[in-house]
Symmetry: C2
């Protein structure tokens, strides 16, 4: 289409997107119409003159991607996909209703949403991952991401800024809708786009400042972005919040407020309808995606059984690194992301084997997880890993990965006080709580190298987010290479028909439980020992059998704080049966020391297990009154 | 002291700091000597020629502050304080031992550490808070913070960069030890200090590039920083990792590795000792802190009782804002921090009353919490608040606030599915799990305006971190202004001597429990209703009494995911007594809808409470076999 007809066509699209956004939010009685109005030309030009995609097949991997990082402008996104023909425009009026997938903020319940947004600063991190994925599958698809200006306060945005430049993502084009207002006040930059551009330039981005309501200027910016090599482009678009409606335009105090039915809504719609250019054509349909390039095969190969000898000492974190490299050889969808600790998590094994699928994010856990979300949304199986404690830095991303049910396989090393001398800042003691709270997140905690290998493979092919907890010190191999491990499973390590209690452990405490078993056995006390390597889902069936067979007394022991971890998982599984659960866990802020000293000091060593079992098995005799010898 | 004698004096200090760092880490058998060596001149010049402080009184509020944001260089910090006379240098050899407070990374167990560091990117956020605190108490104390170059990948650093400029913190001087190596490889910038400086300049910082081993150049940089007005200064110091030891200097692969006793250690110490300038004087003792300015009184005034009428509808988030403003009037130590949601959390009430103690951090939750940590470490009582779900963005900071046991009083609004149409990205459903996992964090969840007011005041004056969960919808006032609420308490709302079960609720579900009570009572079923407004610590005594008196069946109901919240807290309190706890909670990813629809759909409405109690109170009769009529 000629520019002379395309421009009015796109203007009309933008106006109709405004009308739809205002109408749907008024119908819903909530939402963010003014945040939609500012970005209408940005979205209209992207959808109808820039992006190549098939509206009938939003999952097509060669579609250009659009990520609405400013997720509260969801009505605008929905209106654009409806205008592109993905669904019936009439459905827009079901916005925010329980029966509709057109939620307040976008989620992948909608086929055209790859990752849920609505927590600001995350969309651009996911976009980094999508751009990396296009490179992985050798697709020419480009990734576009729309941010708000207020969103640029988030540190995650600047992690993405660094990752985009480091990885030379010239297939990534971001746009900021600089409408100068946040939720409660003007942003730090207001309309000083040069100042905001300096921040992006400072990190090495190519920046272009445009009038965000000038359709031609936007098209030219996208064109220049596409020609820019070796670095991503940031289009800073000067816009007016509430653009197009006289009483909303560039006014503070209208964030997140729908127009009232009646005069207010009628006036707004009237003003907008008057802006429609009569006789302008419809824009052309979106360009079809580019023909795919060569695709790596996606049929995973078999993975060899673990090659460890019983009794050999191997850290689970090292077994993780080894099996991850093997997984990468067996399946080209497997990728790894690091935050400059690859020699601690042992993801360096993967890097050595598959350097092109190993993404270094430096010490930036948010973009590490965020990029993994983007990669996962397009078919990769990403393993981002760091010290487990530092995954807490990315908890909001993990929360959103749960909402999107993405195949992100997190691994956290250096869990618990067993790391020793580095001290509490490096010890993950709340990670199980954090991960278990995400209802669809699988949580695995292997104790030896063999179970680690099996469980990493299980996690890779189990749908949805997963977390694997690994340990710093070496631990003995106790399983045979052909033993079976599965999500929701456990291993009963010791049992007899004389068991008087059940000890449930995982990770390093399995070995404390086994030591305790030996000590107790010498005293003639027999207990069942269960390795609960699958913390979520937990093996309730095996626990309940143990409860019935061992008299009901449970001791749990974990290298984790008392709340939210293994003890709570076991109690939730057996508590409704009235089973008593005595929890051994870390109950105060720990400190530096040797691993063995710390297990002892913080109440989770074999001795503490022995004591707890002894108390359970032999209820304390009431203190006798002073014996008076007469 | 004349420059001609000061410079060799400081060089000798730096050399001795290297010697102490290497010796102590070798003795410990772990630690980061090379990360200490690169920063020795930076620390030597700050401690002995720039900072004004009393080494015998590290808590003096008018001391200049030093924050080691690169916390793994702890041995250097300890050596500097020992050199300043804060403690006996011989103790340095106890580094990382269980009996010593000289931990692997600094914690406030040491009098000269204000905030624990070791999670990179946090120290500079705390430093922002310390600089704000100096302004609050009208002190001329300056804040110095030392970062690593690898650390600059963290988004939190760039949140601090923005906050420092927005708040015009010319009393803040940061230094980056640009030794070009991270843990596992070179940093993104390596030794291109100009590139790194451009990022800081892009955000508006004054930058100075120096040779970080040139004592005179460092002193001049600090002098210029002190004269810089209206913005903070970043000194980018070009250094060599392992500086001073030939086989360590500027070599990759030595991160976090101590020297082995024997030849390796002897050679390093020999080389360093040879660098000591013979005959150079000792440096002068640190300059005394500046005389304090006018200080606000710190005796808190009484706070008026809540002024709500029974039955009135008030959102707990609004009651939070009102009482926070009143607290601010009663106590000048109370400050508030916002992430551009003050009109949702209602902290805008505080801003209106106390604009000089209200710190806008824009949409940057990490620096909001991090700055609160710095403020709290120096005697302020900070209330950072945002949507509860977005506090997950700052979980690593909250974890570290727990390690430091800081008086940070977090408030999260918009908890749970009860927010309604905005959808899952805006609903906090894992916040209780997240906060309960921090062992010394108080967790409060009031259901009405009166209990909110009381509990906010209780939280303010309870030592250590606290979290207050507030709700979006209005709820009826059910308490009298003079009712008592305390940390670790609860309120029994309904009871009789015929109770057949106990329902434990908190926040919005209290009203569902009360509705259920009425319905059950009509059927002649009496239950005890407990408002567990103190989730951590929970009122175990009251729960155990209820367990004994109501037959042992418990139903918990919470607007939170099933793991880590109220149900787990109750089960942990009564589970060891063999009490059965049936948990009603949100068990899947929710979606947009009306609040009442969502409570119903996700299993936490009055109807679900009625059903659960009914099942508990009237055990299901075994299904009868088909009645055969003969």
């Amino acid at each position: 289409m000629e520019s002379s007809t395309l421009v009015p066509a796109l203007r009309n699209v933008a106006t109709r997107l405004r009308i739809d956004s205002i109408r749907s939010t008024s119908e819903a009685g909530s939402g963010h119409p003014t945040s939609c109005c500012s970005a209408a030309e940005i979205v209209a030009t992207l959808f109808f003159a820039e992006m190549r995609f098939d509206p009938q097949d939003p999952h097509h991997v060669d579609n250009d991607r659009f990520v609405l990082s400013k997720g509260h402008a969801a009505p605008l996104l929905y209106a654009a996909w409806a205008a592109a023909g993905a669904f019936d425009r009439a459905k827009l009026l079901e916005l925010r209703q329980l029966g509709s997938d057109l939620e307040g903020h976008p989620t992948p319940r909608l086929s055209f949403v790859d990752v849920a947004t609505g927590s600001l600063g995350q969309g651009i991190c996911a976009a980094v991952g999508m751009a990396l994925n296009a490179r992985r599958i050798e697709s020419t698809a480009r990734t576009y991401v729309l941010l708000g200006d207020g969103e640029c306060a988030e540190g995650a945005v600047w992690e993405a800024a660094q990752a985009g430049v480091y990885h030379r993502l010239d297939n990534l084009c971001a746009v900021i809708d600089v409408n100068r207002f946040g939720q409660s006040r003007a942003t730090r930059w207001a309309h000083d786009l040069e100042a905001l551009a300096r921040s992006w330039q400072g990190f090495g981005w190519h920046t272009i400042i445009v009038d965000g309501h000038d359709v031609s200027a936007l098209l030219e910016a996208y064109r220049v972005a596409k020609q820019t090599e070796d670095r991503p482009t940031m289009v800073l678009a000067r816009t007016l919040k509430g653009k197009g409606v006289s009483f909303l335009e560039d006014r503070d105090g209208w964030h997140g407020k729908p127009l009232k039915h009646g005069e207010q809504l009628a006036q707004a719609l009237g003003e907008l309808e008057a802006q429609l250019v009569e006789g302008a054509p419809e824009p052309p349909p979106p360009l079809a995606p580019m023909a795919p390039g060569r695709r790596p095969a996606t049929v995973p190969q078999a993975i060899a059984a673990p090659a460890y000898r019983l009794g050999e000492s191997v850290a689970t974190r090292e077994a993780y690194g080894r099996v991850l490299a093997a997984l990468g050889s067996a399946d080209p969808r497997v990728v790894a992301l690091d935050a400059d600790v690859k020699n601690s998590t042992f993801s360096e094994h993967f890097e050595r084997a598959h350097p092109d699928r190993f993404y270094q994010m430096f010490i930036a856990e948010q973009v590490m997880v965020g990029a993994a979300m983007g990669l996962a949304s397009l078919g990769a199986i990403p393993f981002p890993s760091s010290f487990a404690c530092f995954l807490s830095r990315a908890y909001d991303f993990i929360r959103m990965a749960g909402i999107s049910n993405l195949n992100v396989k997190l691994t956290g090393s250096h869990a618990g006080v067993s790391i020793g001398e580095d001290g509490p800042s490096q010890m993950a003691l709340e990670d199980l709580a954090m991960m278990r709270a995400v209802p669809n997140c699988t949580v695995l905690y292997p104790c030896d190298a063999v179970s680690t290998e099996h469980l990493v493979v299980r996690a890779a092919y189990h749908p949805g987010p997963a977390y694997i907890r690994t340990t710093r010190p070496k631990t003995p191999v106790i399983y045979d290479a052909h033993d079976e491990f599965h999500i929701g499973g456990s291993r009963v390590l010791r049992q007899s028909d004389r068991d008087v209690a059940t000890v449930v452990a995982a990770g390093v405490t399995v070995f404390e439980a086994l030591k305790a078993y030996d000590e107790l056995a010498q005293e003639g006390i027999h207990v069942r020992i269960i390795d609960a390597y699958s913390i979520q889902p937990i093996d309730a069936a095996t626990l309940l059998v143990a409860a019935r067979q061992t008299g009901g007394g449970f001791v749990t022991v974990e290298d984790h704080y008392a709340n939210g971890g293994l003890g709570d998982a076991v109690a939730a599984a057996v508590g409704e049966e009235g089973v008593r659960v005595h929890r051994l866990a870390v109950r105060e802020i720990p400190r530096s020391g040797r691993p063995d000293e710390l297990l002892e000091r913080f109440g989770i060593s074999a001795r503490h297990v022995v004591d707890a079992v002894t108390r359970l098995a032999r209820p304390a005799v009431a203190a006798e009154p002073d014996a008076v010898p007469r």
